[in-house]
Amino acid sequence: MELLPCGLVNPHVLRKSGIDPTEWNGFAFGLGLTRLVMMRYAIDDIRWLQSGDLRFLRQF
């Protein structure tokens, strides 16, 4: 399962942002918090999290 997709920022992006890519590295990452929550609580469907269903929400 993909949990923390990450990588180095493309030098073009740094250059466009006014940062010198020969001097700087950019590290980009995104934490899949909902996936972590799903694993931690064995939740089978990601849609529960936005369902507003009290049968689900009251378990926490």
Partner: protein, 764 residues
């Protein structure tokens, strides 16, 4: 993208890594694998079998008793339900054990092509011709498409085989022999209007074609990787696409008008009936392939029906072209059609590959269509190709980027295994030439080579070290702290937090009477019913109420989220709001509880009468004022919006609430002299607010009233309809003495007189 293990093995000499291990290696070094499955499990032990005789079974519906000669298994009796089960045909027998069907002991089964995983044909049992060989089962590795969007070359087995050869240190076998291609002198001419949109168009013409089913091995491979076998010519184009990543198309030569094939922009509103029987209306931004009469294909997406291969086809034009990736992508989005071809072209395919695909076809066609003959030479028009760029790779820089020093020979070995050209440049540098199939969009700068070397040595072989950067503790911004405290407070009062989407439907916005023009419209909604950004949390909360009312009689929920309001001529504004709802099947004091919740966040707020919104109960709604500003409202949901029960809604503007903050309290000396209290019941209009009356009592009583507290409310007999009695407890006292009994009576009388003057009544 599905990859056949046997196909990859046929392209990598001596590959001895089992599919399961290969899947792991590919994931670690090239692209994310999603799983591995067996294609054609029933093919294990399957043999060709001749049906010797067939007889009906008494009482058996749709089944017959067949005696078959099952080769090495001997003579077998099999009960079969296929309509085409008849004496004399050769089919496939699978030894699955015996069971009794319709009273007859059936030993093993006769299988359909679909059951064997050879095609999707399940109309009857498969019928073999004498030359058909039953292929063995295969293993299929499924690779996540989004992990290879930057790799046009990996959309075919040969590209993946190249990776596998590099990973395992084996030799890649090229299935293409370019020397078989004829030179110029084709029967068809190619006319490309814009070489930046159609970078290359190559074609061969064949005659004496026999359109028939493909051999089983080809059908099996296509089916394994998710392509649908149709006939030998169409299957060949798909087979080469799956092998070389080069989409191809075959036209029926006799159905083409004239001998020139044009690649040109579509004319305004030009239409074409495609192979999927859909009619598409095109625009000049869409590129078409056309003959003298009109479009014969939507370039890079799908072929036309009028020139399609049929059972009667005897001559074909086999095309292999290359199109601009974004042009194909835009057309595919315009006409809402994504095909195996468009999916590949939109990744920027290598234009050098068109003739390779034709050379491969030239060798495969005689196998699948015996007697086929090439007519004339190669038609091939293309843009000028610039030689592949070279990249200067500084080895010290590479080591710094990777965090690991590598032997220059190792770097060279890795790059060469991936078919990069490597030459020693000045000391400590390599001059690297990009292969054409990696040069279209994928590899362009030294950083890309760092990735190539990094993934091949394995990122897991690099020792992780924490970066040397200055650190300072970070604190949550005040807004987040504030929102968190609001959440804690609501949760402590028994409200469950919900989290709804920020998108709502236009119908829903209208249903609540929200002004549509104040909404930001989503250009490409992720789902139907999510076309507007919400200007209120109400639609989500309302649906939470309706859904939860199916399971619970009473509940409290709240949400903290942003309202997004369109602004004319300016960027939209976003405000955090808190919306709480209290639902109850039986009527209860829901409004009061919400007021208490609001007071916990805004102590000392005032309640003012307000005009109802369309979604509110016409009389049960109030505005909340705090520190001279309107901070929100409390109301009952309009009864028409609920099937049963009542729901009260609290809406608070959290930006305002955070700005205003509770007033700082200053200590006042506790009164040293005893106070006295009395109760007072005013009869008021049922719609009057207790807060109003309280305010008036305070004004009339002046300094002597230390406190005025709401006690209770009463409606019903003996009070007339539309009236209510509201009771307050007034605590009276003075800072310098104890009030005398006459003073207190006078205060009581003054309040009664004052309120009477304002229209309130008192019971005798």
């Amino acid at each position: 993208m599905k990859f056949s293990y046997s196909w990859i093995r046929s392209l990598v000499d001596g590959l001895d890594v089992p599919a399961e291990s290969l899947e792991r290696l590919i994931t670690m070094k090239t692209a994310e694998c999603e799983g591995i499955e067996t294609a054609g499990e029933l093919l294990v032990g399957a043999v060709a079998a001749r049906v010797e005789s067939v007889e009906p079974i008494e009482g058996g519906k749709h089944v017959v008793k067949a005696i078959v000669d099952a080769g090495k298994y001997g003579r077998k009796t099999v009960v079969c339900g296929a309509p085409n089960c008849r004496a004399g045909i050769t089919t496939v027998y699978v030894p699955l054990g015996s069971k009794t069907i319709a009273g007859v002991l059936s030993d093993g089964m006769l299988a359909s092509a679909a059951e064997l995983g050879l095609s999707r044909d399940h109309a009857g049992i498969i019928e073999l011709s004498p030359s058909d060989q039953i292929p063995p089962p295969d293993q299929v590795i499924d690779i996540d498409n989004k992990s290879i969007t930057h790799r046009p070359d990996l959309w075919g087995h040969h590209g993946m085989a190249r990776e596998v050869a590099a990973i395992t240190g084996k030799t890649l076998r090229d299935p293409v022999n370019l020397s078989v291609l004829p030179t110029a002198g084709s029967q068809v001419k190619v006319d490309i209007e814009d070489l930046t949109l159609c970078l290359r168009y190559s074609a061969l013409v064949f005659e004496n074609v026999t359109v028939q089913p493909s051999p089983l091995w080809m059908q099996h491979r296509l089916t394994s990787v998710g392509l649908n076998p149709i006939n030998n010519i169409v299957d060949l184009t798909n087979y080469i696409m799956a092998e070389l990543a080069q989409p191809m198309h075959a036209f029926d030569r006799e159905k083409l008008h004239g001998d020139t094939i044009f690649a040109r922009p579509a004319k305004p509103n030009e239409t074409i009936i495609a192979l999927n029987d859909e009619t598409y209306t095109l625009a000049p931004s869409n590129l078409v392939i056309a003959d003298a009469a009109g479009p014969i294909a939507i370039a890079g997406v799908i072929g036309g029906k009028n020139s399609a291969i049929s059972a009667a086809t005897t001559t074909i034009v086999l095309e292999s072209a290359n199109f601009n990736a974004s042009s194909v992508r835009k057309t595919s989005v315009d006409i809402k059609l994504r095909t195996d071809a468009s999916m590949r072209f939109e990744k920027s395919q290598d234009p050098h590959n068109t003739v390779r695909a034709l050379a491969r076809a030239l060798e495969l066609l005689p196998v699948i269509s015996p007697g086929i003959r090439l007519v004339g030479g190669l038609a091939d028009r293309h843009a000028d190709f610039t030689p592949p760029p070279t990249i200067d790779l500084d080895l010290d820089w590479l080591a710094r980027k990777l965090g690991r020093v590598l032997d220059p020979g190792e770097v060279r070995r890795i790059l060469e295994s991936l078919h990069f050209g490597v030459e020693a440049a000045r000391s400590g540098h390599l001059s690297v030439t990009i292969p054409s199939w990696r040069a279209t969009k994928d590899v362009a700068m030294p950083e890309d080579l760092v990735e190539e070397v990094g993934r091949m040595i394995g990122y897991d072989s690099i020792q992780p070290t924490p970066p040397l950067v200055p650190c300072a503790p970070s604190y949550d911004p005040p807004e987040r702290e504030f929102l968190r405290s609001a959440r804690r407070l609501m949760a402590a009062r028994g409200y469950t937090e919900v989290s709804n989407y920020s998108f709502i439907s236009e119908a829903s916005a209208r249903g609540f009477g929200l002004a549509i023009e104040k909404h930001i419209r989503v250009l490409n909604p992720i789902a139907a019913g999510q076309e507007l950004m919400r200007t209120s949390l109400l639609p989500g909360i309302h649906s939470n109420i309706v859904e939860n009312a199916k399971h619970f009689d009473d509940f409290r929920i709240f949400e903290i989220g942003h309202e997004i309001h369109a602004q004319s001529g300016a960027k939209p504004t976003e405000h955090p709001h808190l919306m709480a709802a209290l639902y109850s099947k039986e009527a209860s004091e829901t409004l009061l509880e919400l007021k208490r919740a609001a007071e916990a966040l805004a102590p000392g707020l005032r309640v003012l009468q307000s005009k109802p919104n369309p979604w509110e109960h016409p009389t049960r709604c109030v505005e909340l004022q705090w520190r001279e500003q309107v901070i929100g409202r409390i109301s009952e949901l309009h009864p028409a919006l609920l099937d049963s029960g009542r729901a009260a809604i609290l809406d608070l503007d959290l930006t305002l609430l955070q700005e205003l903050k509770p007033e700082r309290t200053t200590y006042k000396p506790v009164r040293r002299f005893p106070t006295s209290a009395f109760d007072l019941s005013a009869i008021a209009d049922a719609r009057d607010l207790a807060g109003n009356i309280e305010q008036r009592i305070r004004q009339i009583a002046g300094e002597l009233a230390e406190n005025v507290d709401y006690v209770r409310e009463f409606r019903g007999a003996p009070l007339p309809e539309g009236r209510k009695s509201v009771t307050f407890r007034v605590t009276a006292g003075a800072p310098d003495r104890t009030l005398s009994s006459p003073e207190i009576t006078a205060l009581y009388d003054r309040i009664v007189a004052g309120l009477t003057q304002l229209g309130y009544e008192f019971r005798a």
